[in-house]
Structure formats: structure tokens, C-alpha cells
């Protein structure tokens, strides 16, 4: 299993600014970078706010959002998902701020039923590889 290098998806390499994002996920929380001074949400995260240069911190978000756009991946181009084709990746626009987007897998739905505007909610999944948790999204009205 572990001998096949294609079996694992690319693992994130947290840095000094992104580490709290991954630490929160490990605790089952989705947290995004936010300016402590002006309240602007920042993705990708920054040490200082790009608008007011205030200090930033990671703040839990509701985990709900809307599919802004999506693809259905049919061809193996990234390792880790070769046995799981086709899969859906969306840019999920989080409810906290217009234009605040996270790329994420959409689960629990037929790819043909995914559409722009679909309401989704975050849930947590272990990233194959062992060390990280990721947030995937599922349509709010599906179980």
C-alpha cells in the first residue's frame, strides 16, 4: 500500500502563517485568517492585514457556504485520488465574506447534481497520509 507513491495525495507543508489553519482542522474546527483590527477575512492568510496592516488571527467560521464554481476531475493528474475518479472539487464561497473562497472536495452527491449556487456545509476528513485533517463539503440538504 504505502509502497505506491501515487496512493497518497500531496501533503500540506504548513508555514509560520498557515500552521494555525491546520492545527484548527486537527481539532475539528474550520478557522480562517482574520484581521483583529478591521475584521477583513484573508485567504490565503497573511501575518498582517493587507488593508490596515493590523495583526491577524485565525477565527472559527460557520462552515457553511455556496459552490461558486466546480470541476469534475476525470483524469488522474494529482496523486492520491486515482481510485476515486471522477471526483468533484469546488471553490466554496464561505458565508463570512463575499469572495472568501476555499477549494475543497464535494462529497455525498452525484457529480451530475452539483451546480453553481449549491449550498454546502463543511465536515472533516482524515487526509490519507496520516498527519492532517481536511475540510470537505457536503450539500446541506443531503445526509
Amino acid at each position: 500500500m504505502a509502497a505506491d507513491p501515487l496512493s497518497l495525495p500531496p501533503q500540506p507543508v504548513p508555514d509560520a502563517v498557515t500552521a494555525p489553519f491546520w492545527a484548527a482542522l486537527a481539532e475539528g474546527r474550520l478557522a480562517m485568517c482574520r484581521c483583529g483590527q478591521c475584521g477583513l477575512w484573508l485567504q490565503p492568510p497573511l501575518e498582517r492585514c493587507r488593508r490596515c496592516a493590523g495583526p491577524t488571527r485565525f477565527v472559527d467560521v460557520a462552515g457553511t457556504g455556496t459552490v461558486y464554481s466546480f470541476i469534475v476531475q476525470h483524469r488522474a493528474t494529482v496523486p492520491g485520488y486515482l481510485d476515486d475518479l471522477p471526483y468533484v472539487v469546488a471553490l466554496v464561497e464561505l458565508d463570512e465574506q463575499a469572495g472568501l473562497r476555499l477549494p475543497a472536495r464535494i462529497v455525498g452527491v452525484d457529480p451530475a447534481a452539483v451546480h453553481c449556487g449549491l449550498r454546502v456545509r463543511a465536515e472533516f476528513a482524515d487526509l490519507p497520509g496520516g498527519e492532517f485533517t481536511v475540510a470537505v463539503f457536503r450539500p446541506v440538504d443531503s445526509r
Binding site: Q11, P44, Q73, H74, R75, T77, Y81, V89
Partner: protein, 382 residues
């Protein structure tokens, strides 16, 4: 001010063969293209004092290539980190170096070897930077990013697979007349629609043809160009735009691209309009890149690109000939510098079977998503 680049001209062009797998080093191919470009304009290594290239850290650098062709002392050497987004800045930067007296004759090149293939990332084990948010979800490479853009455009404007296919079919039809193109067999809309899905809504024929090869162009002053063998091709103006730190995912409106901001800047600087353009070498890493940027540059309204192409307006006898060489989709992907080669060939009147008759102006775009640029070449300075 607005015509500040018009004192510069492209006087020489060169390239290596374009092939799927060359077995050659980037240094060998870049040196070949540079030698050919100098021979094309009757100059030698002794005349060259500037060299620049753009790359993603995947190619022999300007000092190495200059040395390899016999340049002894390079006065201006600039290696730019970037891809399609940075082509215009690199070429305009070479012109600025000439016009500011930092160099007299500059070679601009891009080379791609077999180790560079952007469409797949099956060897990636780790991802840092912004990619760390996307890579773990199996979302990491350009066909995926721009399929995401395309989907949003389809949602907002009702563009279709047949619209994308019209672009792919037209470009391939152009490549049939280009002996240097890697893909020269004509395709039909059915061929397009039957090609396999890659990242839906992109099929195989939505994606450029990644190859090995090098292109080089020689930039010097218009004054010096007057004494060289070919009709000089003048740089009429250039513009770039960079937003969202280059984040493809955070760019505010995925139904358009950098060209939304670049186009008004370029038209303002040159005093030109889409109707003034004879040849449009549109950066086409994907069919949708052509669709979005073509709209942004004002050739037609949102959602009308498919009809425009189907009506024959983007080919010979139409309004503007788009990618007469077949573009990155069919001639091959040399990261957009082959668009500059083609533009120069067309404006010289040397494009043979695929010559656009009476071509006097060429738009060359570069980039996709949140950043990129464009410039205009002309047979006469503005």
C-alpha cells in the same frame, strides 16, 4: 509617454524544432533558437549585450545561453520567474532596456524541456504556499484551475461545449497550414465533443499541446533595425495587470481574466481598438483562455465568442485572424513566446501559406486568470 516603447523593434526570430520528446537539454535548444534568431537578422554573438528569459526555474539561464553561443561579456542579464503571465513584461522589459541604454541588442527566449509538464503533477508529494489549501483535495494543476473559470462562465453567460469546440476546431484548422506545428490533422466538432474528459468542463482538445522546444526573438532600437535585413516589427505598446497576488482561486470574477484590466490600459496606451487589429495571437493554454480574454479585449460581447468563431470572423476573410499558427493548442506550447514569433512572421509578410494578407498590426496576449499582459506590434511605429 504613451508610445514610449515604439522606439524598439523585433528584428530577428529563431526556434528549435517543436517535438513531444526531444531528448535534448534546455541549454542546447535555447542556444539553437538564439543562434537562429541572430542569423535571421544578420547579427552575431559579438553584437549581443543583453539576454533575458522567463521560466519557472526549469531552464538554462540567460548567462549560460549567452555564453553557449559565444557572447563573452553580457552587459544585461535578467532571468524572470513566471510563465504565461510574465511574457509581456519580459519582452517589454527587453525593449525598455534597449530604450534606456542598458543594452543595445537583447535576445529574449523561452525553452521547455521534457522535465516540464504543467498539466499533470503525479509526482507531487508535498505542497506549500497557497497550493497547500488545494493540493490535498486533488486540485493542483492549470487545467483544473481554468476549467473552474470556464464552469463559472457557462453558469453566468450560458457558453457551451460547442463554443469551446469552435475555438479548438478553428485553431487546428489554422495549424494544418503550419509545417512547424505538432498537431496538424484537422478535427471536427464531433472529434472535439468525443475527446475524453480531463477536468470537466475541459476535454482533451481544450488543453494546449505540451512539447519540447525553444523560441528566441531579438529586440533592438528602431534606429538600428532600419539597417537590418528584415522589415522591422515595432513594439507599439504593452500593458500588464496583476491582482490577488496571482491567486487563481481568489480572483473576483472567474468569468473573466486579467484582460478585463489589461485591455483598457493597452488600448489607452496605444490609441488602438480591436477593429484595428489584423492578427490576434491569443494566449491559449486552454480554449477557455481564448474565450475569456477575447471578450475582455473587446472583440465581442460576453457569451458571443462561439458565434463569432462559427461565423468565420476569427479566421481568414473575417474580422481578425486568431492564432494563424494554431496557437498553443495545436502548434505547441512554448509558453506563449511562439505567439511573438508568429506575430513577427505575419507582420513581415513571411508567413507563406498562412499569411494574413495586408497584416499591419498584431495583438499578442499572455497569461490567464488573475495576471497577464498584452502588447501590440505594428509594421510602422505609431
Amino acid at each position: 509617454m504613451s508610445h514610449a516603447l515604439a522606439g524598439a523593434a523585433v528584428v530577428g526570430i529563431g526556434r528549435s524544432p517543436f517535438v513531444r520528446s526531444s531528448g535534448r537539454t534546455t541549454l542546447s535548444m535555447a542556444a539553437q533558437a538564439a543562434r537562429e534568431a541572430l542569423a535571421d537578422c544578420g547579427l552575431t554573438a559579438a553584437d549581443v549585450d543583453g539576454f533575458t528569459c522567463y521560466s519557472t526555474g526549469d531552464s538554462a539561464g540567460p548567462s549560460q545561453v549567452a555564453h553557449a553561443i559565444g557572447v563573452d561579456d553580457l552587459g544585461w542579464s535578467l532571468s524572470v520567474l513566471g510563465g504565461g503571465n510574465i511574457v509581456t513584461s519580459t519582452v517589454a522589459g527587453a525593449a525598455a532596456a534597449v530604450l534606456s541604454g542598458q543594452a543595445e541588442v537583447v535576445v529574449v527566449y523561452r525553452v521547455l524541456g521534457s522535465q516540464t509538464r504543467y498539466g499533470r503533477a503525479l509526482e507531487r508529494v508535498e505542497v506549500d504556499g497557497e497550493g497547500q489549501f488545494a493540493g490535498p483535495h486533488g486540485y493542483l494543476v492549470p487545467p483544473q484551475w481554468f476549467a473552474m473559470y470556464c464552469r463559472r462562465h457557462q453558469y453566468e453567460y450560458g457558453s457551451t461545449a460547442a463554443d469551446l469546440g469552435a475555438i479548438a476546431v478553428q485553431e487546428r484548422d489554422h495549424a494544418v497550414r503550419n509545417p512547424h506545428a505538432v498537431a496538424r490533422s484537422p478535427i471536427t466538432l464531433d472529434d472535439y465533443l468525443n475527446s475524453r474528459w480531463i477536468s470537466e468542463p475541459f476535454r482533451l482538445f481544450d488543453c494546449c499541446y505540451e512539447i519540447d522546444g525553444a523560441v528566441a526573438i531579438v529586440v533592438t532600437s528602431a534606429e538600428r533595425a532600419a539597417d537590418l535585413p528584415h522589415r522591422p516589427v515595432h513594439l507599439l505598446g504593452a500593458a500588464d495587470s496583476n491582482r490577488f497576488g496571482g491567486s487563481v482561486d481568489q480572483w473576483d470574477d472567474l468569468s473573466c481574466m486579467y484582460s478585463r484590466d489589461t485591455a483598457p490600459r493597452l488600448w489607452s496606451r496605444t490609441g488602438l481598438r480591436p477593429a484595428d487589429i489584423d492578427v490576434a495571437c491569443m494566449y491559449d493554454c486552454f480554449t477557455f483562455t481564448v474565450m475569456a480574454t477575447f471578450e475582455d479585449f473587446g472583440f465581442c460581447a460576453k457569451g458571443e465568442v462561439g458565434d463569432y468563431f462559427r461565423a468565420g470572423r476569427a479566421t481568414y476573410g473575417g474580422d481578425v485572424v486568431v492564432n494563424p499558427h494554431g496557437g498553443l493548442l495545436s502548434e505547441g506550447y512554448i509558453h506563449g513566446l511562439n505567439h511573438h514569433y508568429e506575430a513577427v512572421l505575419q507582420l513581415r509578410g513571411d508567413a507563406g501559406d498562412r499569411q494574413v494578407s495586408g497584416a499591419e498590426t498584431a495583438l499578442v496576449t499572455s497569461g490567464a486568470g488573475p495576471f497577464g499582459g498584452a502588447l501590440v506590434y505594428g509594421t510602422a511605429a505609431l
